[in-house]
Symmetry: C2
Subunit: 310 residues, 2 copies
C-alpha cells in the first residue's frame, strides 16, 4: 500500500492527468481547459489549513479563493463569464465569517468583470472549491508550450512581496504593503486579455506556484531553455528590506515561493511593439534559448533554477 501523502502532489497531479481527455481545443497541462465552442474553465481548491495566512480576514480568504482561478483564466487570455463556489465550512464557524467569505468571492468576481453564478454548501473543515468560466471572444488562448529560442521572457509586474510577507511574519517584522499583496492578490485578467489580443505571445503562465516552478514548466512544455538575469527581475514592496533584515537571499524570495499573481510570458523580439501598442506593462527578465532548463545569471555566474519549495 502506497499512502497518498508519500506520492507528492506534483506526481499525483501528473498521474491524474491520464484521466483527462482532449475533449476540447486545449487539453491538460495548461492553466485552464478550453472546450469546444469557446468555453474556458478551471477549478481550484483553497483550504483554511494551507491558504489562510496569519492576519488574513475571512473576506480576504474569499477574495483569494476566487483570485486563484481567475488568475488561471488570465494566463489563457480569457474574459471571465462566471464563478461557482462550493464551500465546505465548519458547523462551529461564526455565520458572519461564512457571509464574509462569500462577500470576498463576490468582490473578486466583480473586480474581474463577472459574478457568482452557482455554488454548493456542505459541512467541512474550511474549503472553497472554486470554478471560473471564461470566453476567448475569438482570441487564441495563450498556452505554456509555444516559447521559441530567441524569444524575450517577461513578467507583468514586480515579484517577491508575498514571499517577503511570509518571511516578515516568521520574523515578526512589519511589512504591511507586502502583506496586502499576499492577502488580496490581483488576478491579471485585463492584462491577459490585452496580451492575447496582440496575437504575439508565444507562451504564458501565471506565477501562483512561484517563478521557479513557472520557468521550469514553460521550459518543459515548450522544449526550450531560459536564461534569466537576476538583476532584471522587478522587486515588489518590502522585498529588499525583508531580505536584508532576515538574512535571506533576494533570489530566494523572487524564485522559490508561491502566492504570486503576475503573469510570466514569452514573446518574439520583433513583436514587442505590439505589446507597447496594447499598453501592456511588463518587465523583460531574460531570453529563451535552445537549452532544456531555466538558469539564473547573477554577477556573470550561471546556475540552474529549481522548482522552488512551494
Amino acid at each position: 500500500m502506497v499512502l497518498l501523502g508519500d506520492i507528492g502532489e506534483r506526481q499525483l497531479i501528473a498521474d491524474f492527468r491520464s484521466f483527462i481527455r482532449p475533449e476540447g481545443i486545449v487539453g491538460p497541462g495548461d492553466d485552464a481547459a478550453v472546450l469546444n465552442r469557446d468555453v474556458v474553465v478551471t477549478t481550484d481548491m483553497v483550504t483554511f489549513d494551507r491558504h489562510f495566512a496569519a492576519g488574513m480576514t475571512y473576506e480576504q480568504f474569499g477574495w483569494y479563493s476566487a483570485a486563484v482561478s481567475f488568475s488561471d483564466l488570465a494566463a489563457m487570455g480569457a474574459r471571465p463569464t462566471g464563478f461557482l463556489a462550493a464551500l465546505a465550512l465548519p458547523a462551529n464557524l461564526d455565520s458572519q465569517a461564512a457571509y464574509d467569505i462569500m462577500s470576498g468571492i463576490d468582490q473578486c468576481a466583480e473586480f474581474c468583470g463577472t459574478g457568482i453564478v452557482g455554488g454548493d454548501t456542505k459541512t467541512g473543515p474550511g474549503i472553497v472549491a472554486g470554478t471560473a468560466l471564461g470566453s476567448m471572444d475569438g482570441r487564441r488562448p495563450m498556452l505554456r508550450s509555444g516559447a521559441r529560442p530567441g524569444d524575450v521572457v517577461a513578467v507583468t509586474g514586480p515579484l517577491g512581496s508575498p514571499a517577503a510577507a511570509f518571511k516578515a511574519m516568521e520574523y515578526g517584522i512589519e511589512a504591511e504593503d507586502a502583506k496586502d499583496l499576499l492577502y488580496m492578490p490581483i488576478p491579471r485578467v485585463v492584462e491577459g486579455m490585452s496580451m492575447a489580443s496582440t496575437g504575439a505571445i508565444t507562451s504564458c503562465m501565471d506565477l501562483s506556484d512561484g517563478l521557479g516552478t513557472a520557468l521550469n514548466t514553460i521550459c518543459s512544455a515548450s522544449g526550450v531553455g531560459i536564461d534569466v538575469e537576476l538583476d532584471f527581475i522587478p522587486r515588489g514592496p518590502c522585498v529588499e528590506d525583508v531580505a536584508a533584515q532576515t538574512d535571506t537571499p533576494v533570489e530566494d524570495l523572487l524564485l522559490n515561493w508561491g502566492g504570486e499573481y503576475e503573469l510570466l510570458f514569452t514573446v518574439g523580439k520583433d513583436d514587442l511593439d505590439k505589446l507597447y501598442k496594447a499598453e501592456v506593462e511588463f518587465a523583460i527578465i531574460g531570453m529563451v534559448n535552445d537549452g532544456v532548463r531555466p538558469e539564473l545569471t547573477n554577477d556573470g555566474e550561471r546556475r540552474p533554477i529549481g522548482y522552488g519549495d512551494y
Copy 2:
C-alpha cells in the same frame, strides 16, 4: 455570534443566493445555471463523511460524486460537455483509493457522453467538488417554475430503493438490488435531453434531495399546488419488502429520503403524446392544481407532503 451549524443548510443556501447574480439566462434556484452563449454549469460537493455509504467502493464514491452534478444537467435537459474534479483527500489514504475515485468519476463522465477536462488535488478530509458543464444545443432549459394547474405530474422511473438500502443496512437486512442503485445512481441525461427536445415539459427537477423536497420546491417556484396519489408512485426494487420487514410506511421510503436520481416533471395533458413519441419512459403520479403546496392522497385521505428528512 450565530454558529453556521445553527442556521441550517436550507437557510444558508437561501442566504447565499443573494450573492448569485443573473449573469446568464437562468439565475439561481434551478438545478444548474445557464449562462449566455449556451453554457450550462453546476457544482456539487460530496464528502466521505456524509455520502460514503457503508459498503460503497472508492470507485462507486467517484461515480456518485460525478453523478450528482450530471443529474443536475439532466434536469435542465442539457448535453454534458465536460467535468472538472477538485479532490481533497487524506494524506494517509491508500493511493489506489485515489485512483479508484478518479476512475469512477471518469466512468460516470463517459457514461454521460463526456470526460474529465480539468481538476485540482489538495490534502483534506475526503471531499470531491465536481463541476459539470453542458450545452442546450438549442433546446429550451427545463426550469422549476413553469408548472400550471391542470398539468400532469410524473417521474422517469421507480423510487424508494436508495431509502430502502439505507433502512436495510440499519436493520442488517439483505437488499442488494437497492444497494446497487444507492451506490451507482444513473443520471437521467438521455431522458432529460429527450424531454427537453419535446418542448412540452412545463417544469422539471431532479430527486437528489427526495420526492418530498422536489414537490415542495416545484410548488413554491411555480406558485401552484400538487396532488400526488400514493398508489401511483412506482416502487423500486426492495422497497415494499424492506418497508414490511422494518415496519416502515412505504410512503416514508418514497417521499422523505434523498439519493434518488430519477427526474420529477410536469407536462400539459394535451402534450403527453409528444413524450410518447420521444420514447420517454415515465409514470404519472398526480396533477398540478391551483393550491400552494403538495399533498398526498392515500385511500381517499389527503395530507400535506413535507420536505422530508434528507
